[in-house]
């Protein structure tokens, strides 16, 4: 008997997420085996490595087994939380990644929260006041910000505010060798966070403004808005209770999809601002051809995006009851 209601909806979504993650694991495994060259030889930049040493390493990394055997070993290790050893850092991949996650979360959660709230707000105003000068201004500004890549925006901001005006630092998460502790340290971190946060906010806000605005315009044409107006409700009450709530549905969907693209932006911004997070780790891992680390970061990103989507889907079902009912029957 199929589960009904929210529980059934949630279960189906969770199953879909697990399937997606499994597909990603398979892809992640295959991609790095399709690359040219022998990964074991690549581990030794020093070419004087002996045949015995090569053989030993091949066995150690299980590369002497047939492909399906390697895959099973990979899965087994994965379920034990073992993502392998980073070629470059010689430490467990999981440990390397775990070191970087807090910094990235700090930056990304802050920036995305600001971008989403501000974007929805500006988008709603813009849609509500469509055709006015304010709308034109918000629209133009959002479109231009949306079309500038995060890294060039970052470099421009850095050039102006860090280099010429010296108001903000040139990068990093805190002042090197400052010896700051406690509150002083966190103030320093906030100061360092400003430009990278602004870069991400600028990059994302445009999209939310545009989405909310067009969704708002659609909603405003609906009969129930006309009805609400006819009932003599105040403009703000209509906006808040009738228009915005409905207009937000497509925005929520977009948030989930956007998170996948957020990854690219994070890599760029973290690299430009020397932010010691997981985005820069990916960049460095690419530069160092550190395959286990790349594989690990890809997996972490993929799982994060799938999970975020799952959460968004669940919220969606929560906000709009039509979805789960409609699907269950």
């Amino acid at each position: 008997m199929p589960l009904k209601g929210f529980a059934g909806f949630a279960t189906r979504k969770a199953l879909a997420a697990v399937t997606t993650i499994f597909a990603i694991i398979c892809l992640n495994f295959l991609i790095f085996r399709l690359l040219p060259g022998d990964p074991i030889r690549m581990m030794f930049r020093d070419p004087r490595v002996s045949a015995e040493q090569l053989q030993l390493m091949t066995e150690k990394f299980g590369l002497d087994k047939p492909l399906w055997g390697q895959f099973l070993a990979y899965l087994q290790a994965l379920f034990q939380g073992d993502l392998g050893i980073s070629f470059w850092q010689k430490r467990a991949v999981l440990e390397v990644i775990a070191d970087r996650i807090p910094q990235t979360l700090l930056l990304v959660v802050t920036a995305l929260t600001i971008a989403i709230i501000l974007g929805i707000l500006l988008g709603a105003i813009s849609g509500w006041k469509s055709g006015t000068r304010l709308d034109t201004f918000i629209l133009t500004a959002s479109l231009s910000m949306y079309s500038i890549p995060a890294f060039s925006l970052g470099i421009i901001l850095m050039l102006i505010f860090a280099f010429y005006l010296s108001i903000f630092p040139l990068g990093g998460i805190s002042t090197p060798a400052s010896g700051f502790t406690g509150l002083g340290y966190w103030r320093d971190v906030l100061w360092h966070m400003f430009l990278p946060t602004i870069s991400i906010v600028f990059w994302y806000i445009g999209e939310y403004v545009l989405l909310t605005r067009s969704s708002m315009l659609d909603t405003l044409d609906q009969d129930y808005i006309t009805t609400a107006r006819a009932k003599g409700l105040k403009e703000f009450a209509i906006l808040r209770n009738h228009a915005l709530r409905n207009a937000l549905l497509p925005v929520v969907t977009a948030t989930g999809i956007n998170l996948a693209f957020a990854v690219a932006g994070i890599i760029e911004v973290e690299t430009v601002f020397s932010w010691p997070g997981i985005g820069r780790l990916v960049y460095d891992a690419v530069m160092k051809r550190d395959y286990p680390l790349l594989q690990g970061t890809f997996l972490v990103f993929a799982v994060a995006v799938v999970l975020a989507n799952l959460v968004v889907d669940l919220i969606y079902g929560f906000i709009d009851p039509r979805i789960k009912v409609g699907k269950a029957e």
Binding site: L35, P36, G37, D38, R41, M42, F44, R45, D46, P47, R48, V49, Q53, W88, Q89, K90, R91, V96, D99, R100, I155, M158, L159, A162, F163, S166, L170, G171, G172, I173, S174, P176, A177, E270, T271, V272, F273, S274, W275, P276, R280, L281, Y283, D284, M287, K288, R289
Partner: protein, 581 residues
Amino acid sequence: MRTKKGLLSLLVVALLALSLVTACPAPTTTEEVEQLNATIADLEAQLAAANATIVDLEAQLAAAMGEPAEEIAYGGRLDVGFTAGEGLETLLCDSNWQYTEMGCVFWPLVYDQLWIMGPAPDYEVLPMLATSWETEDGITWTFYLREDAVFHDGVPVTAEDVAFTIENLPNADPAWAFTDIITEPGSVKVIDDYTVEFTLEQSIGTRWPAAYWAPILPKHIWEPYTDDMLSFSNDEAIGSGPYKLKEFKAAQYVWFEANEDYWGGRPYLDEVVFRTYGSEDAQYMALKSGEADMIGYLGCSAVAAEDFIGLEDMEVIVSPGIGLQWLSFNLYKDTPLQDLEVRKAIMYGIDRDRVIEMAFLGYAQTADSFIYPEVAEHNPNLPQYAYDVDLANEILDNAGYLDSDGDGMRDDLTFELLAPSDWTDELKAATLIKEQLAEIGIDISLTVLDLDTYYEYIYTPEEEEYEIAIATEEPGPHGEWMWEFCRSYEAGGEGWNTAYWANPDFDEALDAMLAEVDVEQRTAYLYEMQMLMAEDLPYGVLYRPDLINPVRTDEFEGYVETMGGISTWINPWTYFELHLK
């Protein structure tokens, strides 16, 4: 004044010697000569002692009279920029110490070596932890250590630590596998607290002592980790060097402070901070704004150099490069490249001056050997292969490589040129070389690969994955290891010999050079080796790009320059000598 006094002393010695010779009847037996020599040596020693006293007295006098003696101020913090990818992520003793940019600048500040190579132009052998050493055959070495060296945690440095390091460092990672530190099993002996002796697996001659560039690790800290040195996180990085680690933040910065108890006296600087920047642009901005004082490795690009020239409080130091670049020809693969005439024509067909001008904006010099022209062992008589299209065409015509279908390219002379995608200047050079070789009817197709695949291809010539490759290395003045690129596979050269070159005469000369204890004879072998390589062209050496170092001069002076710039793996001297203005 010093020189004058020196001259005067010489004169006195000469006069004394002369008077002795004239006063005594001419010495007839060797004994008499020896006796005389001994007397002269004795007199010289007395004179030196007297001179020293004079210098001392003069100094006292100067001090007493209040004459301002030139004194170097201590203090200041030097900020050194690195781009993020060059940074150090852990303090593990692994190949990152050698192969990452920050790694090889980092450890010479924290760890002492037995001896150290001095700065340009002499690259002199200078004592460091060892005050002296002995060897007769270049195989068995005895090092006598100074007795006042102390690790950062207060434990004295003794022969035990040196023996421990020599025994274990080559096993740390594939990192320290150099012939001058690989010893016969069981041969590392602690003679007394400050004397250590070991026997190498093979002779390294005597031009340079053994254990070059090896950091001496404290045994009392590392001993439990000899099975797997990577299992020790080395968070405190205790060494005996002039700087102590104050704080290490992976992917952010490394903070050093002066070691007040250093046996050689503390360095002038109070602190050195290596800080990472996300991009070269950010690093350049930091330099211009004064946040960083210098760039830690490889300097700036030729394009960026123009930006720094003429800026207030900045100086641009241009040094000859340490990296040499050459074409590696795969002689294993059955192509016309196996024909020496084709390789010669290729060398004559490349206009190196133009490549330098276009790809390196003039910031490079031509090169003709694995030994740099300013190093004593460089053979000045090598064939130069100066650009000559007519000669190149003539060579190919005479060798029978004709263009039978009239398409402008000679039959069979179609080669693949391999280059890694990371080397932007070299890629520009490769494109120019392709164009230039088309002029002599050689059709080059350029293949660009990621760095690791590239290395895998060139280091396995017998897999026939490449035909010609742009290659580069940094041999340094102590570049013996470079010649392993030429040792034939038959003679055990598997590994570095990317050309698959086999020349028994060369192998013989190489072994003779390595076993030779007489410096002059050794140089003769090196001359022969360079000539064999330049004539047989397994590798066609092209040029060496300069190092461009923009530095800040508002606070500090005394940047020390060697080949490769002011801060490289052979040059920690800037960190030792730099001081406040």
